[in-house]
């Protein structure tokens, strides 16, 4: 009786959360699967169409480009967004002055609403009076077309993305670096290890798990890139910046009643990302074993 009562109170406290998760987290996952086999305009009852949605998505002229762009964006964003924060954190951790200021400044862009960063950079990228071409002009370099040229548009998006996101990775690395026991460096130094050797044999092995974890997190996050192409290029020029998430949005809201196709494309993206998420899960488990 007492056990029953305890369970009843507990589920009383849980019911709001259970309802929220059921309707807005668990059900949409199922709905995603179902949706990809249906045609619906949200008004009439949905019709089953088998694999038609998948076929339509694959036949879309932008499909291949979108995947290539997403992979290219992810790789470029990792080159900047992965190495740069780690090196920044390494350097910041060595400094003994202005630490508070530097941490504040690095994280500042993360705090801004993304729309602010994106619209600000749209102005910087302006080929005429934009800041970036002005700076190139200062060094007597020719200006670039930035967002207006299919060869530089994707790189421009990577620049915005790195600027507004690198702060959080930097601070996470910084926290990891501060957890390294100083004795390890002292021991390495006694063994005659120079600075580079200490980074290689102490710093990197000690932060290996968080480095791997952040790699997975960043791959998953950047593969969902949407706001940059949506606001800055609209997928252009010549589809050079159409990403999978942006194409999904277009299927659903621009092409008209393509929720099913968007769902099908979402399923494909999910399968790819789940592989990385599974990796991440395993790494988190490893890390918990290490820290426990």
């Amino acid at each position: 009786m007492r056990v029953l009562k305890r369970n009843l109170t507990a589920y009383g406290f849980l019911c709001a959360a259970l309802a929220c998760f059921a309707v807005f987290a668990w059900y949409p996952m199922v709905r995603e699967f179902v949706l990809s086999f249906q045609r619906t305009n949200l008004v009439d009852p949905p019709a089953w169409v088998g694999l038609d949605n998948f076929a339509a998505v694959v036949r879309d002229p932008a499909f291949g480009t979108a995947w290539l762009n997403t992979v290219a964006f992810t790789v470029l964003a990792l080159v900047c967004g992965y190495a740069v924060p780690f090196v920044t954190a390494l350097v910041l951790n060595e400094l003994r002055h202005a630490r508070g200021y530097l941490r504040f400044v690095v994280y500042l862009p993360v705090m801004l609403p993304p729309i602010v960063a994106v619209l600000l950079f749209r102005w910087f990228f302006d080929p005429g009076p934009g800041l970036f071409n002005q700076i190139l002009g200062l060094f007597h370099l020719p200006g670039l077309a930035w967002l207006d040229s299919s060869s530089t548009a994707l790189v421009s998006l990577v620049i915005v993305s790195t600027w507004m996101n690198m702060g959080s990775a930097t601070l996470i690395y910084l926290a990891a670096l501060q957890n390294i026991p100083p004795e390890l460096y002292e021991a390495a130094e006694l063994d005659g290890a120079g600075i580079l050797a200490r980074i290689r044999h102490v710093t990197i092995p000690q932060t290996r798990l968080i480095l791997m974890l952040m790699l997975m997190l960043q791959i998953v996050a950047t593969m969902q890139v949407f706001i940059e192409p949506y606001m800055l290029t609209g997928g252009g020029p010549e589809n050079a910046t159409v990403t999978v998430a942006y194409l999904m949005y277009q299927f659903a809201f621009t092409y008209g009643d393509g929720y099913g196709q968007a769902g099908a494309l979402g399923m494909m993206l999910m399968l790819v990302l789940l592989v990385f998420a599974a990796f991440q899960l395993r790494l988190t488990r490893d890390e918990r074993e290490v820290t426990a």
Partner: protein
């Protein structure tokens, strides 16, 4: 005795000649000894200066450009090369932006969604975490696992089915369409539960013996000792909701219900550059102010976030 005293004076004299050593409170890659060697100091100051300059240029200068851009006239903005300091700084663009974008309304909307979302999220997630941590129902771990599993699902992937669900429920253009999905946050529940787990059982049992019911225990025992984690979760919930773009873009489509991010994005194409910048400055101020005052909480939450799972 005398020789010790003499040595001390000698040492003091030497210290006066040598510059003050760089203080090292914790050991890192470079050893304190290396750092305070002659070349170590020179390199250190050079690196410090470079890092300060570079990070200010990279992260502060763009914001300076945004603020001063909003204070320049349209003609001045078109100048080549641009002026570093506005010639005749004016706040006209801010007034214009306020009118054009209807920023007062957008800010009110955004603040209302953020605060309402915060209340709903806290009520739902705190009680769930309390139940899972202290009341420990049957299958509690299964429930927790299912909630944490949602963290593995990339948000963009469930965006469309979530939109379809919210639309089926008739919650489009309704603040609940923002609040309820936000409350289904596995990470909040994880953080709160982990903190509640660390509260000693004796504290709860003592209150129960005094005849307090479970709600009373939550309100008068658990919540007062959980201030730090409640602060972290609150700030993150409010800031995330304030910054959110994609979901409000889909859900709040009526022009008088838009958030500030969505409102700016919809009008920005047809507005002079200085007016856009003024709008951006206004949109950026609230989160930057929050960051300024709650830096510690935010950074603590960030590093807690890195070991989620």
């Amino acid at each position: 005795m005398i020789s010790v005293g003499a040595r001390a004076t000698e040492r003091r004299a030497r210290e006066r000649r040598r510059p003050r050593p760089i203080e090292v409170r914790f050991r890192t890659i470079v050893s304190p000894h290396q750092l305070n060697s002659r070349w170590g100091r020179r390199i250190y100051w050079a690196v410090l200066l470079t890092v300060l300059t570079l990070s200010t240029l990279a992260f502060v200068f763009p914001l300076y450009w945004m603020v001063t851009g909003a204070m320049k006239s349209g003609e001045e903005l078109a100048l080549m090369p641009p002026t570093l300091v506005p010639r005749a700084p004016t706040l006209d663009a801010f007034a214009e932006a306020w009118e054009l974008f209807d920023i007062g309304l957008l800010l009110r909307n955004t603040a209302f969604y953020a605060l309402g979302g915060w209340l709903v999220t806290m009520a739902v997630d705190v009680s769930a975490a309390y139940a899972l941590s202290k009341l420990r129902p049957a299958l509690g771990n299964v429930v927790l696992g299912a909630m944490l599993a949602t963290l593995m699902v990339p948000p963009m992937v469930v965006l469309i089915p979530l939109y379809v669900t919210v639309s089926d429920l008739g919650l489009l253009n309704d603040p609940w369409g923002l609040w309820l999905p936000a409350a289904a946050n596995g990470f909040n529940i994880f953080l709160l539960k982990r903190f509640f787990d660390s509260i000693p059982k004796e504290l709860v049992e003592a209150a129960l013996i005094d005849g307090a019911g479970p709600l009373r225990v939550l309100w008068s025992v658990i919540l007062p000792v959980s201030r730090p984690i409640l602060g972290v979760v609150s700030i993150f919930t409010i800031v995330t909701s304030f910054k959110d773009f994609v979901w409000p873009l889909l859900v709040m489509t009526d022009s008088d219900r838009m958030t500030i991010s969505v409102g700016l994005s919809q009008t920005a194409g047809a507005v002079p550059q200085n007016t856009i910048m003024a709008g951006l400055v206004i949109a950026g101020i609230p989160t930057v102010v929050v960051f300024f005052f709650f830096q510690r909480h935010i950074m603590a939450g960030l590093t807690a976030g890195s070991i989620k799972g």
